[in-house]
Amino acid sequence: MIRGYSTFIHVGQIHIDVAPKAISTVLGSCVAVCLYDPILGIGGMNHYLLPFWNKNGLQTPKFGNIAIPKLIESMLAKGANSKTIEAKIFGGAMMNPGVNEAMMIGQKNILVAREILSEYQIAIVSEDVGGQNGRKIQFDLERGKVLMKYTPRSDLLSQG
């Protein structure tokens, strides 16, 4: 476990940091992409709610097709190497099977992550996605590891 403080990110946020820091979030149908450059110990995480930005409102990272390229660009701007960056993805649960089954938001969020990462030729080295449980994750930039716990639906009322 991480000793000390960890930066918590909400929906629509992107955070890049370096070892020995940690980044955390809580996910329902939202997806978080965690990128890590193992050579430099630079890591970043986003947390998006929906797969596609459709020109409605600001172009914010609460949409996967905005959040993932922005996360990658921010990592590269901080000095990470595109050839050594690796990805881990989490979330995309079906939180209200009756309600969003038809929309398949979680599934679309996962698909967007896989498609965009593959386009940037960034390998997904591990993932825990889908299902019907929420997740709490903490990205330890010292070791490049993500700690994950499933969480009950009641804990996720205000999360994505």
Partner: protein, 271 residues
């Protein structure tokens, strides 16, 4: 089972198609995002310096340049407001804006916004009335709440009738904080709602600004788990912000940061 697989495949196919189409959309909108981020950076620092220097140039009461000084100060404050909106939009788009909760009194925030807009209010001869039935502090993000309220009041004063009233009500309803800003005049038609909350909106009838203020208001409301909507009848326009009332102040925000001590991950799975 086969139907489900077929359904999944269809969704996957359509999502890929949509992703591809959106790529073109994002590309065509890239210039606007770059503009936002560049302008925000380039204008903010000099503006901050100017605002710091202008009060030092204030002439004596009897000096004939007093009126000109007032105008310069007024224009600088209005320009700063627009720049602050550009900065906020750029921060939201870059994913850098976080939420910092604190105990705040909505009426104090409203009064602060009115004070900062006093030149606009005076210029358009607007009478502001505040009805606060909440009359207590709530837990919210003061910076976000200030930007929300300031944009709505500025819109009411700018696009409403001159020599009229802007009425602001602060109430509590079913564990939500409701702030309504009413102004006299023609509002945007309900059929233009999607454009009203879209940046650099086009296609709206009548006078309108950059289309940035309301898109910021909506994003900030959503980041506080609330929403914004409006109604317009023949003589009044009402923009209503609804925010859930948080009951406790997160430990993290008590020390003014977005960092917090996460619970034990002793039994967590490691990836």
């Amino acid at each position: 089972m086969d139907t489900m697989n077929g359904y999944d495949e269809e969704v996957t196919f359509l999502s890929r198609k949509l992703l591809d189409l959106n790529k073109q959309l994002i590309e065509s909108e890239k210039a606007k995002s770059r503009f936002l981020s560049l302008v925000a950076n380039e204008l903010n620092d000099p503006m901050t310096a100017l605002l710091g220097l202008i009060p030092r140039l204030k002439p004596d009461e009897k000096n004939s340049h007093q009126a000109i000084f007032g105008l310069v100060h007024q224009e600088a404050l209005l320009l700063d407001f627009r720049i602050q909106n550009l900065v906020a939009a750029a921060q939201i788009e870059s994913g850098e804006i976080d939420t910092t909760y604190a105990s705040v009194k909505p009426e104090t925030i409203v009064k602060e916004a009115i004070e900062d807009l006093k030149y606009l209010i005076q210029r358009n001869n607007i009478l502001i009335s505040i009805h606060d039935t909440l009359m207590r502090p709530v837990i919210s993000d003061p910076r976000k709440l200030y930007l929300i309220v300031k944009n709505l009041i500025a819109n009411g004063c700018t696009y409403g009738l001159t020599d009229s009233i802007v009425d602001i009500s602060i109430t509590e309803s079913s564990s939500t904080l409701v702030i309504a800003v009413n102004n006299q005049g023609d509002g945007p038609k309900v059929e233009f709602k999607p454009q009203v909350f879209t940046r650099f909106a086009e296609g709206l009838e009548g006078e309108h600004g950059l289309g940035l203020g309301l898109s910021i208001v909506r994003e900030l409301c959503e980041s506080l788990k609330g929403n914004v909507d409006y109604t317009a009848d023949k003589s009044w326009v009402t923009f209503t912000v609804t925010l859930p009332l948080e009951t406790t102040l997160p430990d993290s925000d008590a020390c003014g940061s977005n960092e917090f001590l996460f619970e034990s991950f002793d039994d967590a799975v490691e990836f």
